[in-house]
Subunit: 241 residues, 2 copies
DNA sequence: TTTTCGTTTCGGCGAATGTCGAAGCGTTCT
DNA sequence: AGAACGCTTCGACATTCGCCGAAACGAAAA
């Protein structure tokens, strides 16, 4: 047949709004059951089954049985990153119409396994400003303060290999600006969740900044009150448009 | 509404096999008319119009009128790279069934504006081996022989800025291995086409290596006869599976 | 064992969509 | 001006697909 990639197979899997919602729900990296997903997407379990089957056949998700539950999750980090990249292309009028300013999604959210949203962008630029990371030919590399930063946060130095970058840019669909993924990005999100700087919200990828989190983020990433206000107000100002 | 990216909008645009074929045809970076595309996709002009309208509405393509012709092309490099990344996810059984071993697509093809396929992979590793490029924390950076290489090939030194990497990895859907894009990748393909080392094939992204090209590629990228045979035979060996 | 519950299969309904032929419109060539 | 050509719109047809309710299946709990 045609010696071309079958874009339509994956496209068809993404083509339905309901499936897109399911995928977005799964994009925080956790696994969910049929019932949870059908509830989140406002459909009945039979319909969810059909959708999940399609997603799995297209290779976008995987499922494992555990007793009478079946857990579904994104098939791989590769899939997650391709989907995130695709989100970038969403026509801007749709994003603006869809994004409720008071939802936390614009402020802080997780992107498969690392931090995104305005907070993610902020942290990234702070890491660059303070020399923890630096730009080298358009790519992110450890900077002079890199090891001090790891010690400060009590992080294991991520295994730095040629094939697994410490940090790389990941384009954010709400901000259209880069934030960091890579092993450092993953470690930061893990740390923030473990120490309860951020807590997951029930039914979305949004994250909430706890009081302790505010203190810690201020200390480690220079997230001043005014910066927080600024993040908040820029969210609010978007609502008026 | 939902504060989530509308993956389904782009998904719907990709969902149809015919549209996928059109996109693949456009992925070589050139612009084509309605008629050319309808012919390539085995549909009538009216149908092509409908498809191209959808692609344009989804922001994947752009069109410009020129007299009584309308040329369509991929909307941006960003779209091209997202699509290429998405191609990576194509279920492997479909790729294997679809890829005819004797078509040149596996050997050498262009990926929007740079070189891909086995030749692209080969050249990338050769550039790394010879110190033209080097790995720095998982990213590509110019190596010690970088400027000598540019002089040797009579290339203008691409503008190296922090925001426009000289070279970056681009995952190939046939090889599942990295090859280079970025300004250097673009320059190499341009040079190869201009000096007729490679010629485009009529109706696909595949490229043909000319006799002069073989000599030049041998000189500049160490592409020995045995390496060529190896590339060819590994193509052949894939056919048996 | 019986009950409960999560998941899946099946059948049917309604909406959306890919396809084409015929016809209309605008540009270019003769 | 007239003919040729490329693109688009329109109408009609067949197919696909999302969705749900009812019912079946299978594992856990009572």
């Amino acid at each position: 047949m045609r010696p071309e990639p079958r874009l339509d197979i994956i496209g068809a899997a993404l083509a339905d709004p309901t499936r897109a919602r399911i995928l977005c729900k799964l994009m925080d990296g956790r696994a969910f059951t049929n019932k949870e997903l059908s509830c989140a997407a406002n459909i009945t379990p039979p319909t969810a089954t059909a959708h999940l089957k399609q997603l799995e056949r297209a290779g976008l998700t995987t499922s494992i049985r555990s007793g009478r539950h079946v857990f579904h999750r994104i098939a791989s980090a590769q899939v997650a990153s391709a989907l995130e990249k695709l989100s970038t292309l969403t026509p801007s009028d749709h994003v603006r119409r869809a994004a409720k300013p008071d939802s936390g999604v614009l402020l802080a959210r997780c992107c498969y396994n690392h931090l995104a949203g305005r907070l993610g962008v902020w942290i990234t630029y702070n890491l660059l400003d303070t020399g923890v990371l630096q730009l080298a030919h358009g790519a992110l590399a450890p900077g002079p303060r890199y090891h001090a930063f790891l010690t400060d946060l009590d992080l294991d130095p991520p295994r730095v290999s040629a094939h697994r970058p410490v940090a790389k840019f990941c384009l954010d669909w709400t901000e259209r600006r880069n934030h960091i993924s890579g092993s450092l990005g993953i470690a930061i999100l893990e740390k923030a969740l473990k120490d309860k700087w951020l807590t997951r919200q029930r039914s979305s990828r949004a994250l909430t900044i706890t009081p302790e989190g505010k203190i810690a983020l201020t200390r480690h990433f220079g997230l001043s009150d005014s910066a927080l206000d600024c993040l908040g107000s820029s969210v609010r100002s978007m609502a008026k448009r």
